[in-house]
């Protein structure tokens, strides 16, 4: 028996050495190679968006530009915290974030480079940093998904605030732990104020809303008629439609609250160049994401809204960006999620 374990220890040593050797010489393992390559002038990107989504796009970028990219993937907030810890010695030149809040936090800490005016001019002003330090890449809208068999279009609420009224008792699905529900509440706090948001949340809570694990489950429930309404992001319906073979195969529809309603907040995925890391390569990367190829890719893969003019993604029934209204928000301010979570905790919507 002791011999067996002595052998185990040896096996461990051999595994470590062999695997290390395989990594070092084989060339298949990207680890050390990329680390070395990064120092050799590669563009280092931190991506808060999923590798399965962004990876193919980065390969297309390298193909078009000839610029090699090394990427660290992680959650947007974790990467933002990592960038804050790294300070000016960060290996990263570019940060691609899932949401504007993480970019806002880095901007406040003085960690982002000013972007050139003509880059910022590519997208409508409300989808970029007011300080010009990050730029939106793709947009997503909060919507009310509803079942037309259960609700006539004419009876739809004119504002998200109406959902606290008695006729919506027990009829609205929501995903309390979902980041996009939380940023919707943050948007409401920023535009309508703390008092009104608290009153809305308390009324909403007392109206017996139905909690779901995620947005996709809400869209399923609405589509099947289990509930008439749901508070979700716009693209879940389009993803379901592309799986089902078209929007006409589904019952559920998206509804945008008219006017500057917090229920129709538009949030973005954004990109920024880290302070002191401005280079032609970094700028080329940002410009590529704002070009037609990347914009079409985002729209077709994720069913998000392209943010530049003149892109026609092959997503049937996706309304044009210009039809969106939503509240006027400086998206950088959506970094006050902590207060939102505290408020949701107090109200009891968690």
């Amino acid at each position: 028996m002791p011999r067996l374990l002595a052998r185990t220890l040896r096996a461990l040593l051999v595994t470590g050495l062999l695997a290390t050797a395989a990594c070092g010489s084989g060339g298949d393992d990207p680890a050390e190679q990329l680390a070395a390559a990064a120092e050799a002038g590669e563009l280092v990107v931190y991506s808060g968006r999923n590798e399965n989504l962004v990876g193919p796009l980065l390969e297309m970028f390298t193909e078009v530009s000839g610029i090699e990219v090394a990427t660290r993937y992680g959650g947007s907030a974790e990467l933002a915290a990592q960038l804050l810890e790294e300070g000016d010695r960060t290996p990263a030149a570019v940060f691609l974030s899932q949401d504007a809040g993480a970019l806002g936090a880095l901007q406040d800490a003085g960690r982002l480079e000013q972007l050139p005016a003509d880059t910022l001019a590519t997208v409508p002003a409300q989808y970029s940093s007011a300080d010009g330090r990050w730029v939106g890449v793709s947009g997503r809208s909060r919507v009310l998904v509803y079942n037309p068999d259960l609700v006539a279009a004419a009876d739809l609420p004119k504002s998200v605030f109406e959902l606290t009224e008695p006729q919506y008792d027990g009829k609205v699905g929501y995903a309390p732990t979902n980041a996009s529900f939380q940023s919707f509440v943050t948007g409401m706090r920023v535009t309508a104020g703390e008092e009104r948001t608290r009153a809305f949340l308390e009324g909403f809570r007392d109206n017996d809303p139905k909690a779901y694990e995620g947005n996709a489950l809400i869209v399923d429930a609405v589509n099947e008629g289990a509930i008439p309404f749901g508070l979700v992001n716009h693209y879940y319906l389009y993803e379901k439609a592309s799986e089902a073979g078209g929007l006409d195969k589904l019952t559920a529809r998206n509804y945008l609250f008219p006017g500057a309603d917090p229920g129709s907040l538009v949030n973005v995925t954004g990109v920024a160049v880290l302070a002191g890391k401005q280079s032609q390569d970094a700028q080329a990367f940002v410009d590529y994401l704002l070009g037609e190829q990347a914009q079409t890719y985002f729209a077709e893969v994720t069913k998000e809204f392209p943010l530049i003019e003149g892109v026609q993604p092959d997503v049937p029934d996706l309304p044009p960006l210009s039809s969106l209204q939503g509240p006027k928000v400086d998206l950088s301010q959506l970094d006050s999620l902590a207060q939102t979570l505290a408020l949701l905790d107090e109200v009891g919507l968690t």
């Binding site: 002791p2 374990l5 185990t8 461990l12 990427t71 915290a81 810890e85 902590a338």
Partner: protein, 542 residues
């Protein structure tokens, strides 16, 4: 925590049994005043490494002044959090103690059918990461969330931490006490409760401590089950406010809780003596015949295996079958597996090397310094991986920049997180080998290094190896620190799994999860075999 893998009582504070001899005591007293620098210097280095996250947490916690620290600590929410986390840890630990003792007794002392097989199967849940078990349970029972869900997943994944030391202790325990109790007319149950169970106390305390700290530090189960425990709130704090102070304060509080638990564990065994009469002549107690209960008793291991292995296996098989229809990314999986093995093997080696001086010192010396160094090695164990990762980001960017986001820093993070697993194994196995052999070696004129290399380590090797395997296993499953610290562009099975579940593609994630569990099952099997029934002394039944 000293006898996780061997079950040998290793008194942390009481002098070894042999010190009753007058001549020996003189030698020992002399040694206590002057522990060998050969061990003390590297042991101090190990303790310093284990304390690295504290340095970072202190900097971050106090950067906005002590007032902010007070505010966070005195928040009502913090108190609630502390109570919730301790309740969860307490419930999980209790359940694991019950399951662990029951399974250990059934597989070591009873005539349970297929006992050897069950001994190995019962250790296998160590191979299942909590995030895999969590996804499996949630997909099976979507309503299972909150406290109950976290409790089920953590218990199912961590009871082997109790089972392994208790099974080992049962095998090594002198059965005389129980036999005397029986001869005095106690029923088998009474004899077990009054003679055997007290002897198991060190093993129970050690395993219980590991489970409690595991329940406090684990992120996978509480995040999937949406239960607001320490780790989830620390994580949310990073995610929601981009303000690292509250997270750092909570991290310090978690370290404080850890040290209190470690101290309690040492106290719980410190008062009693568990030394065994005679070393090496131990017999395993007579096998208890279950009689009519023999077949019904099989329900226990079957039920535990169903909950801890069956549920994840069913979910993985289902997802894999769905995923394979969509094409199997074989090359990708292979590369990630290779990287996983590399990181885990290097992590296990580094952790074990760092643990040896601390463990040997704690086993051989009884002074305050060895005890302090051993306890210090626990500091990082209850911290969530993300906190240790940020600590090493902070420190390596400033003081070891060329190593940042390279393998050595990742390996260091593994060591900080998992040192106690290895220190415990070294301590226990070194304590088991008689110090007399080292004294003989010294008397022949061998230098201390030669004694360590040629006597102490070879004797302790099996236990040390088992500790290394446990660290290896734990490194393979590690996710948050690996995500932040792995070299640019590399992939482990755990990080691939994270990527796939990030787009909610369970079917694409399943092959990675399945391979991770299968690869982890190999070292787990070795651990199970070691503490299982396969190495019973000749003459033992079954």
């Amino acid at each position: 925590m000293t006898e996780l893998l061997t079950g040998a009582p290793a008194p942390a504070s009481a002098p070894p049994a042999g010190s009753a001899e007058p001549g020996r005591r003189a030698v020992r007293a002399g040694r206590r005043s002057r522990p060998p620098l050969l061990l003390v210097v590297p042991a101090c280095l190990t303790a310093a490494i284990a304390l690295l996250p504290m340095l970072y947490l202190a900097v971050r916690a106090f950067e906005q002044g002590a007032g902010v620290v007070g505010d966070v600590l005195l928040r009502e929410r913090t108190l609630r959090l502390l109570i919730r986390s301790l309740l969860l840890a307490g419930a999980v630990t209790t359940a694991c103690l019950v399951i662990g003792v029951a399974l250990a007794w059934l597989t070591v002392r009873s005539d349970l059918p297929w006992r050897r097989g069950w001994a190995v199967v019962a250790a296998l849940p160590l191979a299942v990461p909590t995030y895999v078990a969590g996804f499996a349970w949630i997909s099976l029972l979507p309503r299972l969330s909150g406290f109950l869900g976290a409790f089920v997943v953590l218990t199912a994944c961590s009871y082997p931490y109790v089972l392994l030391p208790v099974a080992a202790a049962l095998r090594r325990m002198d059965p005389a006490g129980e036999e005397v109790a029986r001869s005095l007319g106690l029923s088998p149950w009474q004899a077990f409760r009054r003679a055997t169970l007290p002897q198991l106390r060190p093993a129970l305390a050690a395993g219980g401590l590991l489970v409690a700290l595991y329940a406090l530090s684990d992120f996978g189960a509480v995040s999937i089950m949406r239960f607001d425990a320490f780790t989830r709130v620390i994580y949310t704090s990073y995610r929601s406010s981009f303000d690292r102070t509250p997270a750092a304060v909570l991290g310090l509080l978690l370290v404080a809780v850890t040290l209190v638990l470690v101290w309690l564990e040492a106290r719980s065994r410190g008062r009693a003596s568990y030394s065994r009469v005679g070393r090496g002549g131990a017999r395993v107690g007579a096998t208890v015949r279950l009689g009519r209960l023999r077949l019904p008793a099989v329900i226990v291991p079957v039920a535990v295996a169903t909950l801890s292995l069956g549920v994840p296996a069913a979910a993985l098989l289902y997802w894999t079958s769905v995923g394979v229809r969509g094409g199997f990314p074989a090359l990708d999986v292979g590369g990630a597996a290779l990287t996983t093995l590399t990181f885990a093997a290097l992590g296990a080696l580094a952790t074990t090397v760092l643990a040896v001086p601390v463990g040997v010192l704690a086993a051989r010396r009884s002074g305050r310094l060895p005890r302090l160094l051993e306890r210090a090695s626990w500091a990082g164990h209850a911290l969530p991986g993300i906190v240790v990762a940020f600590a090493l980001v902070f420190l390596s960017v400033r003081y070891a920049f060329p190593l940042y986001q390279r393998t050595p820093v990742l390996v260091l993070a593994y060591a900080v997180l998992f040192l106690p697993l290895a220190v415990g194994a070294v301590h226990a196995s070194a304590a088991q080998s008689p110090p007399g052999l080292e004294e003989v070696a010294r008397s022949t004129g061998a230098r201390p290094l030669a004694v360590l290399r040629r006597v102490t380590l070879p004797l302790a090797a099996p236990g040390i190896a088992a500790g290394a395997v446990l660290v290896f296993l734990t490194c393979m499953k590690e996710l948050p620190a690996t995500l932040l610290l792995q070299p640019l562009g590399s992939q482990t099975l755990a990080t691939r799994l994270w990527t796939e579940t990030g787009v909610a593609a369970y079917s694409a994630a399943a092959p990675y999860a399945a391979l991770l569990v299968l690869l982890s099952a190999v070292p787990t099997y070795l651990l199970g075999v070691r503490t299982g029934a396969l190495d019973r002394p000749p003459g033992g039944r079954g």
